[in-house]
Amino acid sequence: MIKNIAVLLAVAGLLMIFLPVISGFQERDNLNELAADYVDGSINDLGTPNVVTSVIVTYRGLDTLGEVTVLFLATVGVGLLLKGNREDMIKISPLELLETTSSVLVALIMVLGIYIFTHGHLTPGGGFQGGVVIASGFLLLMLSKVNAKISHSIMNFVESFSGVAYVGIGIAGIVLTIGFLNPGILPLGQFGDLFSAGAIPVIYSLIGLKVGSELTSILVTMRGE
């Protein structure tokens, strides 16, 4: 009873904190200086049509590196917690039709995933979204083929390789004295082309690989090896 009252008070308190946020909120009309710089810079300095991508991959590249790391940590952490429990592995007997068609579908999904992250600088989406799509391809594989074993070492290798390569590109920026994670290590190319925007598509592809393999690892572990 006392607890219920306390919960109600807590919720009321939260609302009280947020109320002035709502009443003081005003839809903005113009970009602030920083955002305007980003839009401007993305087009002129980085040659990247998707401004969000240039913010993620370049301007706030350190965040993104961190973000990939967080996902990596989750993979490792989930592994530390759950690995080695085969007995409660999830087995769902699939439909025969699904089993046969899945192989085709998986291939298609993978291609879609790769498309998404290689075009991150041009269209919406990028490494993270593409990575998830790849992981969902593996998920389909897992669900459709009971005994499908997704090689841990390959996943591991892809994960490590893409991570190290990502950091390596960052270092290349330092070596060329243009700054850690600067995409200018590659030429800008023609605005709007696939091979343009410096190293941004490369970085985003590596992120895509890393996220894809990490998420797959998480899924595999959560399912029970």
């Binding site: 919960v7 807590a10 919720v11 939260l14 609302l15 947020f18 946020v21 709502i22 909120f25 839809e27 903005r28 009309d29 113009n30 970009l31 602030n32 920083l34 955002a35 305007a36 980003y38 839009v39 401007d40 993305s42 087009i43 049509p49 998707n50 401004v51 969000v52 913010v55 993620i56 706030r60 965040d63 993104t64 961190g66 973000e67 967080v70 996902l71 940590l73 989750a74 952490g77 989930v78 917690l81 759950l82 429990n85 409660d88 041009l122 269209t123 919406p124 993270f128 605005f191 709007g192 996220v211 998480i218 572990t221 959560m222």
Partner: protein, 119 residues
């Protein structure tokens, strides 16, 4: 004023999520509550980045590269939310693996059964 509506929506989801964390006894529901609160947070953030009548910050057919600055919404909150979503997934996954292990040890999903440490 559409971002005002979404802001309110986000706050409502956040509070509902917290309410679930405070009242549900089932561990998985507590995590669901956390996940709802997380979604609410993300909606709040995107609402803050919206500019009246502007479009996505992608230079393509719809947006002219020359006066893009006048035509697009704020890209920064989008970038931040992207990061936050991924982090949210990571936290949720770790939380759920805790629950799986806790259940294996104690065969219970009720948070009330996990208070051997206190005072």
């Amino acid at each position: 004023m559409i971002s005002m509506y979404t802001l309110i929506l986000g706050i409502a989801l956040l509070v509902i999520g917290f309410y679930a964390m405070l009242t549900r006894k089932n561990l998985i529901k507590i995590v669901i509550g956390f996940s709802i609160a997380d979604t609410g947070t993300h909606i709040i953030i995107v609402s803050l980045g919206y500019l009246r009548g502007k479009t996505a910050p992608i230079i393509d057919g719809a947006v002219n590269a020359v006066n893009a600055v006048q035509e697009v919404v704020d890209p920064i909150p989008s970038a931040l939310v992207l990061t936050a979503i991924v982090i949210g997934l990571a936290v949720t996954a770790v939380m759920l693996s805790f629950i799986v292990e806790m259940y294996k040890k104690n065969k219970s999903l009720s948070i009330d059964d996990y208070q051997e440490l206190k005072w």
